[in-house]
């Protein structure tokens, strides 16, 4: 695979591992905030190549992990409506709300379809004109433009049976919450494809406001190792700036036309993040002018107070890097991928699931 195989070159990875070890001269803690980074670090066994003094923690970069229980309940309520077909990415299907998951709803007779693109959901709506197709919009800045494009097309075609339940979130506000006060981080590995959309420059406030070295990294093993080498170099000099280590996919100002489409369709709202509570302006809701495509306005959802989290569930702490999966009392015992208590264990890219599947336990 071109543009992939070159970045899985064993010799290159080995050299970078050697450089990384040389570069880490004191205990360093970096945070990555992207589920695909978590997944690929584990999948390629990169942790075994890190020097002992380097710790890479998983932050709130898994859009499924941070989806609040109450939001899952809203999806399930929609699914239980006879006239509704839920279209969702596979990631969300087993995430538990307070009354079970979408998979369990499906077992009880609800129509839940897994899709690979928001366009599949549009096609579903065209094929089932007697049903209201509700596409569950999860994902951060990489995914939101694709959903915006789907809504834009639905509007052009004047479709009346397609809508989006937006659970979308954006990253910058959550950093403010995480990094305020005495953060324990020496650097941030920034998500490459979020940066493809928003650009390198968009990460500068992070570096400046929190004195944090930031490196934007791609996802192949060479990309990740190289980004960590550069992060270690910046951390050694305590230099708070944003370096683009993924220039083949990230430009200075990103993909501005894609983001413009997002702002046409969506507007910022406050949002609930699992484990973190409400974060101002961190969510995206569909604008009034596109109300016909907003599931929250097409269907009647009672706002319920979110159920309290399972006793002892430490997803919030794991997400924020305050503890490792193994530090949670439930990990591997009462909470496993087979019977998960919280999203960190359900989502295949959740810190706990990734750790369970690929790591030590």
């Amino acid at each position: 695979m071109k543009h992939v195989d070159e970045y899985r070159d064993r010799k290159l990875v080995k050299s970078l591992a050697f450089r990384l070890t040389g570069q880490v001269k004191r205990p360093l803690r970096f945070m990555e905030v992207c589920g695909t980074h978590t997944m690929n670090i584990f999948r390629f066994g990169l942790r075994s190549l890190f020097p002992a003094d380097l710790e890479v923690v998983s932050g709130p970069g898994c859009p499924v992990c941070v989806t609040d229980s109450a939001d899952i309940d809203v999806c399930i309520a929609a699914a239980e409506n006879e006239n509704v077909v839920i279209a969702t990415f596979g990631d969300l299907v087993r995430v538990p709300g307070s009354r079970g998951s979408l998979a369990e709803s499906r077992a009880r007779g609800a129509r839940v379809e897994i899709v690979y693109s928001p366009i599949d959901a549009l096609e579903l709506a065209r094929a089932h004109k007697d049903k209201l197709v509700v596409f569950v919009g999860i994902g951060f800045e990489t995914t939101v433009p694709t959903v915006a494009a789907a809504v834009a097309q639905a509007a052009r075609l004047r479709m009346d049976n397609f809508c989006v339940l937006s659970l979308h979130k954006v990253m910058p506000p959550v950093f403010a919450r995480l990094l305020a006060g005495n953060h324990q981080l020496d650097g941030l590995l920034c998500p490459g494809h979020v940066a493809t959309i928003v650009g390198r420059r968009a990460f500068e406030p992070l570096a400046l406001d929190y004195g944090l070295p930031c490196v934007i990294g791609g996802f192949e093993p060479v990309d990740i190792m190289q980004a960590l080498v550069q992060l270690a170099e910046l951390a050694a000099r305590r230099e708070a700036k944003v370096v683009n280590a993924y220039p083949r996919a990230v430009a200075e100002d990103g993909n501005s036309s894609a983001w413009r489409l997002v702002t046409d369709i969506f507007q910022p709202v406050d949002a609930q993040w699992r484990g973190l509570g409400t974060i101002k302006s961190s969510g995206l809701a569909i604008r009034d002018v596109y109300a016909a495509f907003d599931a929250r306005r097409r269907l009647d959802f009672e706002t319920e107070t979110p159920a309290p989290p399972s006793t002892g569930c430490r997803c919030g702490d794991v997400i924020c890097g305050r503890c490792r999966p193994v530090d949670c009392g439930h990990f591997g015992g009462s909470c496993t991928p087979g019977h998960p208590l919280g999203p960190c264990m359900v989502s295949s890219e959740g810190s706990c699931a990734a750790f369970y599947r690929y790591g030590e336990h």
Partner: protein
């Protein structure tokens, strides 16, 4: 409105005239052999010296037809392979079908054609069968159960209990072909014809190996549901052994690799229907590989790992970039990711 004559109806399962006609026209015409033809309540087999192996499996795959095979081929090859994995020579198969009312007869005929072809290739007869028809909605088109009886030559002991530290771990060919093909078909992913199920009867190649390398094959397992990773982990636990696997020695077709990347699914968790894992005496692993290469079912066989002297149940993967991680079994269905 479907022409009633073109579909399977409840009458076909009732045991009356329509049912007998169905058996004659669809089944006997294709599966004819001296044990099946009398349509007795039971088939009688000649006495066999030595131990018998006995296995059963049900097949509910959706869609029924996919590139490289169909439910009929799976139903024969899957059960034949389960016998072969104990070193058993297949002697006879049973065939039970549960058909949803309304299934086009043409579909049923295609499936039985496939069963006949697969049985002939495997060299085994279907000697007894049963057909039931259920109301629309009570089954998803067609469910098949096959059971198989085989005989094990004296002195042959093939089971995870025989696995020893030092054993070579061989995978007989490319991984994940079946699982990704069926997923792509079912979800209509339009990948464009590069994917094919690998359904295949392994009994001939296994019989040849067992004969030429007496005592050299310690265990066999076909990595079906759950994939290579789950099977390796299960054997590691059951045999109380530890294993090391080298990712770059695991054969993987490029289109399969790409399809898995697109969907975010790990090929180590996807089903294989024409491959087996062999745990072999290291003294003969080279020869076994050469023998596999000469066989249509083993041309891409590879020594993918070794059983080691370590913590029981622990399977370590050396990744393609020289990292290391643990392999763990699959829990639940492998779901595609997008985020």
């Amino acid at each position: 409105m479907e022409n009633k004559k073109d579909c399977v109806t409840l009458d076909h399962g009732s045991g009356g005239l329509a049912a007998r006609e169905l058996v004659q026209e669809v089944f006997l015409s294709r599966l004819n052999n001296s044990r099946l033809a009398p349509l007795e309540d039971s088939a009688v087999l000649p006495a066999v010296k030595g131990r018998l192996a006995f296995t059963t499996d049900s097949y509910v795959v959706d869609p029924l037809f996919f590139p490289g095979g169909d439910i009929g081929a799976l139903a024969v090859n899957g059960t034949v392979n389960d016998l072969a994995m104990r070193g058993a020579v297949p002697l006879a198969l049973s065939l039970g079908l549960i058909i949803e009312e309304g299934l086009p007869l043409e579909v049923l005929e295609r499936v039985v054609d496939s069963i006949a072809a697969a049985a002939e290739t495997a060299g085994v007869d279907v000697v007894t069968g049963d057909t039931k028809v259920v109301h629309r909605g009570a089954a998803d088109k067609l469910f098949i159960n096959t059971s198989g009886i085989g005989s094990i030559v004296e002195g042959v002991e093939i089971s995870p209990g025989q696995v020893r530290p030092g054993d070579g771990i061989i995978l007989s060919g490319t991984m994940a072909d079946h699982g990704i093909t069926v997923l792509a078909e079912r979800e209509d992913l339009g990948f464009g014809g590069q994917l094919r199920s690998d359904t295949f009867a392994l009994n001939h190649v296994v019989a040849a190996l067992v004969e030429h390398f007496p005592g050299g094959i310690h265990a066999l397992r076909d990595p079906t549901r759950g994939g290579v990773a789950t099977t390796l982990c299960e054997i590691a636990v059951v045999s109380g052994s530890s294993m090391e696997i080298w990712e770059e020695r695991v054969p993987l077709n490029r289109p399969v690799a790409v399809a898995c990347e697109i969907l975010g699914i790990d090929p180590f968790f996807l089903a294989n229907e024409g491959k087996c894992l062999l745990f072999v005496d290291p003294a003969v692993e080279g020869e076994i590989l050469k023998a596999l290469y000469r066989h249509p079912g083993g041309k891409q066989a590879s020594l993918i790992g070794r059983v080691t002297d370590g913590e029981a149940g622990r399977v370590v993967l050396h990744t393609a970039v020289a990292g290391q991680r643990l392999m763990t079994p699959l829990t639940g269905d492998p779901l595609p990711r997008i985020c």
